[in-house]
Symmetry: C2
Subunit: 236 residues, 2 copies
């Protein structure tokens, strides 16, 4: 009886620890989402001050990655989780890497907002902004699916990246045409190009996180698997 109580107690603490890393990864996601919104605001308004605040804020994202990962390793060593508990810890450990890289993308976008030459090239930023807002919605949805550990939502969101990729390709073609028509503008257009690329990478990262959600909930690794196979395999 004492043993049973002890087990219950230990398992209560363990659950609290799992809840804690879940909450921390969601807090990290919230921070990254704000960084992305602000980086996009900075670029569409060419607001250097806001851009600087995004660049300076990145160390918080980095710090969260390191501390959550440390906690994940500690939980594995101390609690020896199995089955879905272990999948949760592994999924979180991978998710934070992608969140940190989205944080890096925000810094890249913010740095472009510091390019004063873009003041004369505002029309160049329209497609980037619209693509950026799309990526923000994608990230928001992904974090929502992560909070609810909703594999169906993650599966639907996963497909969203193809749409973002199409928008990306159209934006790149537009930038290319712009360069051909006005070769003197090439250096500025390059800056917009890197920001566009960074936004596209945000979509790839969200897609990775969706795969980890599915891995946690369904116990299946769906990386490199076609949608047909996923639907069949997972009863989605």
């Amino acid at each position: 009886m004492d043993n049973m109580n002890l087990n219950k107690h230990i398992s209560g603490q363990f659950n609290a620890e799992l809840d804690d890393i879940r909450n921390r990864v969601l807090a990290m996601g919230g921070l990254v989402e704000r960084q992305l919104e602000q980086a996009l605001d900075a670029i569409s308004n060419l607001d250097a001050e806001l851009a600087q605040s995004v660049i300076q804020g990145d160390h918080k994202v980095n710090g969260m990655e390191v501390s959550i990962d440390e906690e994940c390793a500690r939980i594995i060593a101390k609690r020896q989780p199995a089955a879905s508990d272990l999948r949760l810890v592994l999924a979180i450990s991978k998710t934070i890497t992608d969140l940190e890289r989205i944080g890096d993308a925000c810094v890249k976008i913010a740095k472009v907002a510091l390019d004063k030459r873009l003041k004369k090239q505002q029309p160049l930023l329209v497609s980037l902004d619209s693509m950026g807002r799309h990526a923000t919605r994608f990230l928001h949805g992904t974090l929502d699916a992560l909070a609810r550990m909703d594999a169906d939502a993650a599966f639907e969101l996963h497909k969203e990246d193809a749409k973002l990729d199409k928008e990306y390709e159209a934006t790149i073609r537009q930038l290319m045409t712009y360069m051909m028509e006005d070769p003197r503008s090439i250096p500025e257009v390059f800056d917009v190009l890197w920001a566009t690329r960074a936004v596209e990478r945000v979509g790839d990262r969200c897609q990775n996180i969706c795969e980890y959600i599915i891995y946690y909930v369904k116990g299946k690794d769906v990386r490199h698997v076609s949608y047909e196979e996923m639907e069949k395999d997972l009863n989605l």
Copy 2:
């Protein structure tokens, strides 16, 4: 006594399992290194056949990622590793993600080799090739440090990325000048640009792997840490 033998037996099996994932990650690294060499050969000779073989070979890299990761999760669940054994498994689980992404970079490089318009633009490929060979040496050194779990070598290699970044910036400037001088070539130059970018990313991935080697050997997470702090912290 029986128990001791059993423990020894279990631990012998466990060691064999750890050796096995170490060997598998090194085999995966070897495959990725060949993919990178061949992708670069394909682009410098504009060899479409070789490029296709790199593109088709990527599924092997992907398969290795999934199967090694599965084995890592199995070892954690079954063997409940602690201390350096756990760090080894976690470091391997992260390393394979970066190796898989280097594999993706190889596919991107190989796809550019399929662009027939580049036949008229061979001079454009010179800097890319030299940068690519640099990245290949970086990857080779990283895999070597991984095989020997050599933290000192990993620390030295980590700094190599800054040199590759400088080469990358010079190549980008060169491509930009080329575009400005001959705007009709912009579509082809864009292709070279993406390949250049992919090569630069290979360096970032090698740097990540060096960080995991240091994490395993020294038990310290050195992501987002300056070289001064690293040297002080790690007695390197």
